[in-house]
Symmetry: C2
Subunit: 181 residues, 2 copies
């Protein structure tokens, strides 16, 4: 039972994330149906809709945090860390396609966690600037935004590209652009 409960809960979270990404107003009933469980079962696990959303966010934040840790953004050489980050974060973006920046407004705890993770990445971008991997005239905030945009794009609009190749494409577009030299 305990095993079943855990599996179904996880299924609800993943299914919910997928449906909520397509349509943030997806009903609990629709999520439950898609996950193959009864509506009341979902309500027994999650006190209310907010709680379900919070659980989804937490799952995404957990995955993202592990990726940030394993990328060794402060220790590894910039190109290595960048590639490891990309290869890790792209599957996370695909598995939890919910837009955290928009949907976590009402959850201060999750927002704070997200801010912290965001700051780690921004620090990394700053290091890339400082160590001369980015052009001197590039604003760090803009570089950060570009990287995020490229990750989202490859993750959601090209779901068939496998993570290593996706990371290559993003890093290449980010650093070299798509134009002729």
């Amino acid at each position: 039972m305990r095993a079943d409960a855990a599996r179904n809960l996880s299924s609800v979270l993943r299914t919910g994330a997928r449906l909520l990404a397509e349509d943030p107003s997806t009903s609990m009933a629709a999520i439950a149906a898609a996950a193959g469980v009864d509506r009341t079962t979902v309500h027994r696990r999650f006190a209310n809709r907010e709680a379900l959303l919070r659980a989804v966010f937490q799952a995404k934040l957990d995955s993202a945090e592990r990726v940030l840790d394993e990328a060794r953004l402060t220790e590894a050489p910039v190109p290595v860390a960048l590639h490891r980050y990309l290869e890790g974060i792209i599957p996370v973006a695909r598995e939890w396609p919910v837009d955290t920046r928009r949907m976590m407004q009402k959850d201060p705890e999750a927002s704070a966690r997200r801010e912290a993770q965001s700051a780690r990445l921004s620090t990394f971008i700053q290091r890339a600037c400082d160590e001369g991997y980015l052009r001197a005239d590039i604003d760090a905030a803009w570089a950060r935004a570009v990287l995020d945009a490229l990750v989202d794009s490859i993750a959601h609009r090209f779901p068939a590209v496998d993570p290593p190749q996706a990371a290559d494409l993003v890093a290449d577009a980010f650093l070299r652009g798509l134009g002729v030299t």
Copy 2:
């Protein structure tokens, strides 16, 4: 009266677009309140919620279409057309921040129009490839996605950057990337 009606209708559309972009499930009541009109007045203008959304999409499509026309994507030199397109489309993205790709699914007519506009831009990107402005190893669909992502990013995450500079930033990131040569 006719003038008032038109002004209020426009105000509802713009306000609605802004609120719906932040939260696609924003209620008609909230939109009406933000636009400074009564809820019933909105219902008199738009038969139902769908009709309001359709009107917002149509307004965005109208603006985007004008930008595509004026950019002369098929006639002008690639760099010129690209810059004109960017400088025009960024204000459109800001004024109508709704995500058309996601929210227009249920409106086949608007979807078709969007597809047509999308095809025009894809054709332009293909021309940029053919004429040697993009690296030969670059997939046109990926180039297209990157351009879209950069436009969305500068439009919504850097609303203070004025259109000409924003266009410069996007074109620069798109063609040259952010890394050192």
